[in-house]
Amino acid sequence: MSALPSVSTVAERPLLKRTVAVNRQPGRVVLQHLRDEIELEGAAAQLFSKMEAQLDGKTPVDAIAAGLKETPARLRTLLGQLEKAGVVSLLSANDDAKLTTGMEFYAIHRERCLYWLEDVYRHPLWEKIVTGKASRAQVLGFAFEKYHYIEAAFEHMGIAASNASPEMMPHLARHFIEEYTHGDIYRRGLRSLFPDDIILHSQPLPSTRALVNYLNECAARSSFAYYAGNELLQMTENTGDSDAGKSVDDFYGAMRKHYPYTDKLIDSFIAHTKADQALGHADAFVLMCESVPPLTRREVNDALNVAKNMAEHLVLFMDGIDTFYDRFATVPRLPCDLKSE
């Protein structure tokens, strides 16, 4: 007989998720989590307010109910709804043993990544380029850094394929083989303004290097976590739906208008996006998630932390272009040698 309690007999300890913001208004409570708002009114709002302080993940439901002179069943009804809405977790001793299927992970990953990417889309550099306020160094720097990032497929995708777990190997091999030439698409655009040898010898910003090195380190350590992070980056390219596609078109349109010399560069950006879409990379991660064995909480957290860090590195990538090229306006950046210093 197992010494472990079954799920139904484990005391559940409700936790208001750490990322939930609680806004109180007369007669109602609004819970903000990721991109959602959950509104509680009347009795539900009152009951939530009564128990909020004890939603600390340490107190069992029955103990909270006893303290509030409420029935556990009433609390459980509300807590069940809040759990479904994603704002409360019902912690139990079994949490660490619970496994998440690849497809469950896919759904969680997508929801989180869309939220984490908001900081990238809100970055002020986009607005500067669209309104023509970005300097020549920032605009050309943007093109060079995109080139360096795409060209780095040789590094991180190569490392990923050569360190792949058995179930991920076919996906990572295919991804490398399909992507390693994409840097050349950007290089073609840059060649409208710069000689080939200068482009090939140019050097990325530390912030772009940071993004590439982070991918490299993840690729060597965990195939699945690496791809969970890479997928977040891929989500910014797979503009399959019409709204996102229109925003991208508008961005390039404004860039052509304010910076006519970037015409060929923009052609290369668009050619790359189309090449990615034609390869069906949007589906690659679903296929991977379908093929991985169920994941432990530790594995889920590892992969999601990599994805979150990747979003932060992407913000850093944008920041580097915006801030560094504003302060140090040399573009392209060439490596130093014995005479340059």
Binding site: L15, K17, R18, T19, G57, S89, L91, D95, T100, I108, R191, L193, F194, P195, I198, Q203, L205, P206, S207, R209, A210, N213, Y214, N216, E217, R297, V300, N301, L304, N305, K308, N309, E312, H313, V315, L316, D319, G320, T323, F324, T330, P332, L334, P335, C336, D337, L338, K339, S340, E341
Partner: protein
């Protein structure tokens, strides 16, 4: 004689200061003065050099007769602002390389620490929060030495260099405790700090050091030397820590461990390590010397962006301090 943009490259200018209708351009070894028009021409030459545009285009940009452009480029070369790419460099000894590195280190450090953050902190426009953020990231950076220092030993092939790198690691590996002590004096608990997550640029520094360690142990060592260069004497950092403590009410207990750490670095003479390593290198081909130098300068740029990342994150009051990892159940 025909002349083309492929023959020249621009020397690094560390600072441009307007002074009485002129501009002073600070190079590592001299100051060059240019009038307004010359400065404008110089900037046009700089952006023309790496481009595909021909001499006729430059002549148009400068509104200068095409025949006169080569003379102007040569004048810029003579002043030290341009140099010729094709003149070959000779191999040098490790110690000769150290001499060249020492000659530019102070210019590099001035570039690394010219970020406005420092002036802001020293002039009272900073905050205790920014001071704390800097300390947290220093804690992570110092702890992450364990990700790159032993790797540099593993990737070294020469016994004397392996030995020197290993000794350095043995002396440094646990120095993050000094920053933990400081942070505890600021009211944080040990698990809060130990379980926290560094900023991306803090992680980037140690990832870059790992990249250098895998590439060439001298490339790694120059990065280490740039960082140690900031702690050669107490005069470099002490004013920042002491003044911040005074301005932002930082308890002395939070500053004392930092000084103890700086003193230990001086005691171990870590700033001499690069020289000791280079002493064992009989010859450096110019390609290797350039590669090593380039790693050093990339590290300088990393420090600048690291500072920027710290300022941008910690100046926002709503951002979490310290940063915690994501958990699928708790978040």
């Amino acid at each position: 004689m025909s002349i083309s943009h492929r023959q020249f490259r621009a020397k690094r200018v560390y600072e441009v200061t307007p002074r009485g209708g002129q501009r002073e351009l600070r190079l590592s070894d001299r100051i060059v003065e240019l009038g307004d028009q010359e400065f404008d021409w110089y900037q046009k030459v700089r952006s023309w050099l790496p481009s595909i545009r021909g001499l006729a285009d430059l002549s148009k940009d400068l509104a200068m007769d095409e025949a006169k452009v080569p003379k102007f480029l040569e004048a810029l070369e003579k002043s030290g602002l341009l140099y010729r790419v094709e003149s070959p460099d000779k191999p040098m000894t490790g110690l000769e390389f150290h001499g060249a590195f020492s000659g530019i280190l102070s210019s590099w450090l001035s570039e690394a620490f010219e970020h406005p953050f420092w002036e802001r902190m020293m002039s009272g426009r900073g905050s205790a929060r920014l001071f704390t953020g800097w300390l947290i990231e220093l804690y992570h950076y110092t702890k992450n030495a364990n990700r790159h220092m032993p790797l540099s030993c593993a990737q070294s092939h020469e016994k004397p260099i392996k030995q020197l790198r290993a000794k350095h690691y043995a002396e440094e590996w646990n120095h993050y405790h000094y920053f933990m002590k400081s942070l505890k004096a600021l009211g944080f608990t040990e698990p809060q700090i130990a379980d926290s997550v560094p900023l991306p640029m803090t992680l980037a520094l140690s990832n870059f050091m790992r990249q250098a360690a895998r590439h060439d142990v001298l490339a790694y060592s120059v990065c280490s030397a740039v960082l140690e260069g900031t702690t050669t004497d107490r005069g470099t950092y002490s004013p920042y820590y002491q003044k911040s403590a005074d301005l932002y009410g930082v308890p002395q207990d939070a500053v004392t461990p930092i000084f103890a750490h700086l003193d230990l670095d001086v005691k171990y003479q870590h700033s001499d390590l690069f020289r000791d390593i280079l002493e064992t290198v009989p010859v450096m081909p110019p390609e290797r010397a350039s590669l090593v130098l380039d790693y050093g300068h990339q590290l300088v740029e990393h420090i600048w962006l690291w500072t920027d990342n710290i300022e941008k994150y910690y100046q926002v009051d709503s951002n979490l301090v310290p940063r915690r990892p994501f958990d699928v159940v708790l978040d």
